[in-house]
């Protein structure tokens, strides 16, 4: 669907400024902050008011927050739920109040509750990213010991990315041998210690995938401490790939340290989410799922794709 200028929607209720409630489950990584800012920017550019709430990882609290949005009679809700199931009561509450609700980046499970979701596909995008990484490994020849940094196992995105990784390496045992799976619980420290320890146990590790780019500094610090932080193409380079496409990843790509990362298109998702609310208010048909195709950015397509990478934008600011 093509995004339309806001004027038409605003015109229908010009007497009152529209208010949209934005409820995020967390703001704890750069990706979510970027998403939050993109939505704020998008709403501001259309001169809408925004109510904000962050649930800090607690689904029940998020339900309370959505209910208080409803109490305050917002005109639409953009929600980043904790997971696919716990958001159902929130969607139902919004449905019951007749308020359009759009899920940002995480879809809801199928049910009678009506919502629109704008999502990137964690699983597929990770699989593609890792496939690219494997391709590089294959080209360089030889078998590599590999390590994955797994996110919080209570987080569906982390699980999706882990599954994407597993799918990509399946059948590629001749190229990658996964010797270390480091659970990070989304903590930099655990990641750092885990990587150091894994490198201790398997000094030959030369293939690392992190489930989120915000853990990259931990990997870099661990690699530096054992003298294995080299640029792409240099001897001893450890193949590195991540997910998200944040500022650190952009810098590392530019400087030639990172091989690839899976990028979700934040501004696209934000635009789509806001537009979907307008369309729903205007009674137009909106598909249940708006897909952010996302893309893998790597050394070869860097110049061509970097303009779409949100981390590049943040970096410039």
């Amino acid at each position: 669907s093509k995004s339309r200028p806001a004027a038409s929607a605003a015109g229908t209720s010009s007497e009152r400024k529209l208010t949209v409630g934005v409820a995020f489950e967390t703001l704890q990584t750069g990706y979510w902050v970027a998403g939050f800012e993109a939505i704020r920017h998008e709403l501001a550019s259309r001169d809408y008011a925004m109510l904000e709430a962050v649930a800090d990882g607690d689904a029940n609290r998020q339900l309370e927050q959505v209910k208080s949005f409803i109490t305050r009679k917002v005109d639409g809700i953009i929600l980043v739920p904790k997971d696919a199931q716990t958001c159902l009561p929130m969607i139902k509450a919004a449905n019951a109040a007749g308020i359009p609700i759009v899920l940002f980046n995480r879809p809801a499970e199928k049910s009678e509750a009506r919502s629109v979701a704008v999502v990137a596909d964690n699983f597929a995008l990770t699989r593609e990213t890792v496939a690219y990484q494997i391709g590089v490994a294959r080209a360089s020849g030889g078998r590599r010991e590999a390590m994955i940094l797994i996110g919080d196992l209570g987080d569906i995105n982390a699980v999706g990315r882990r599954d994407g990784f597993d799918a990509a390496v399946k059948g590629q045992e001749d190229i990658v041998d996964v010797v270390a799976r480091v659970p990070t619980e989304w903590s930099q420290e655990k990641a750092q210690a885990g990587v150091v320890n894994a490198l201790q146990a398997h000094p030959n590790i030369s293939f690392i995938f992190t489930s989120s780019d915000f853990l990259l500094p931990s990997i870099v610090s661990a690699l530096k401490s054992v003298g294995k932080y080299h640029k792409v193409g240099e001897p001893g380079h450890v193949l590195l790939a991540g997910f998200d496409g944040d500022a650190t990843a952009y810098a590392m790509l530019k400087d030639g340290y990172l091989d690839a990362t899976g990028v979700q298109d934040v501004s696209f998702e934000a635009k789509q989410a806001v537009q979907a609310i307008l369309d729903l208010r205007a009674g137009k048909a909106v598909p249940d799922l708006i897909l952010d195709p996302g893309f893998v950015i790597h050394q070869k397509n860097l110049s061509e794709k970097s303009s779409q990478m949100w981390g590049a934008g943040v970096g410039k600011k």
């Binding site: 703001l27 704890q28 990584t29 750069g30 902050v33 797994i150 196992l153 010797v179 270390a180 799976r181 480091v182 659970p183 989304w186 903590s187 930099q188 420290e189 655990k190 750092q192 210690a193 885990g194 150091v196 320890n197 894994a198 201790q200 146990a201 915000f214 500094p217 931990s218 870099v220 610090s221 530096k224 401490s225 944040d246 650190t248």
Partner: protein, 327 residues
Amino acid sequence: MKTSWWLERGLRQAPLVLFILILAIFGALAPKFIGVANLVNIGVQAAPAGIVAIGMTFVLLTAGVDLSVGAIMFVGAAVAGKMALNGAPLWLALTAMVGVGAGFGVVNALFITRLRVAAFIVTLALLFVGRGFALWLTQTRAMNLPDAFLQLGSARMAGMPLPLVLFGLVALLAQGVLGRTPFGRQVLAVGHNRESASQAGINTTYVLGAVYLLSGVCAALGGILALGQLGAVTPKFGENYEFKAIAAAVLGGTSLFGGRGAVLPGTVLGALLIQSVENGLVLLNADPYLYPLITSGIIFSAVLLDSVRSFLLERACRRKIRMEAAD
């Protein structure tokens, strides 16, 4: 006679024995585990939480608790990070960080000693205030710090990594203060009973205040070491450190009801034990789902052993009325 002597010795050193046992088990499963390099690693990784736990030990000894340590680390790191990114020299940023720790410590101390609010609540409140403030400072963004911080973490002193050296020094100093100075002894007395202590002529306000100040400073030092290893400040920086620190201290035999415990070997051993388990599991490439199960199982067994030990010790040392007339 001889055997009972050995038994008592063994019982007294039980935490150490257990620690060695765990090293042996992991070592047998993953030979790399007991390599010098890895053991040094464990020490380095245990250092941040270890130092925080040392400060926490003092607080626990007074029958208090400091839940704000994690928040202190975060605020300190955020302030230091901002300064460093704006061009301040490293030493200034680090001093500021210690200053933040001391500042929080003083606020805790004021509320607890002067206004007589329960330590749990004061430090819980400061946890919220601190984290909120630091989130605002960082705008919940991750901050990648200049390389100087990372160099600090990988620097060496006398062949040993700087964090390890610092950890050792702080531990020795703390144990010295606790065991060999009047202040240290008074901490134990206050922990047993604040009112009795004040009747015995101890300036409890001073002792309690100093203890929270110490804890704040230790939290900041721990934060510096963590920064040295990570080179970045994220919104989760320092999260759950309060539990980690308390766990290390209690694992080392410090009582939450005050008056009992030690930094060496106690708390230090506790911190090392926890870190060894995590390290060992990574070396074994264990199933991530099993991490919490195994870690908690081992901590549980350690404390269980400790409680069995103190029970047996208590029995062994039960007062004897009659001298052994037989021999």
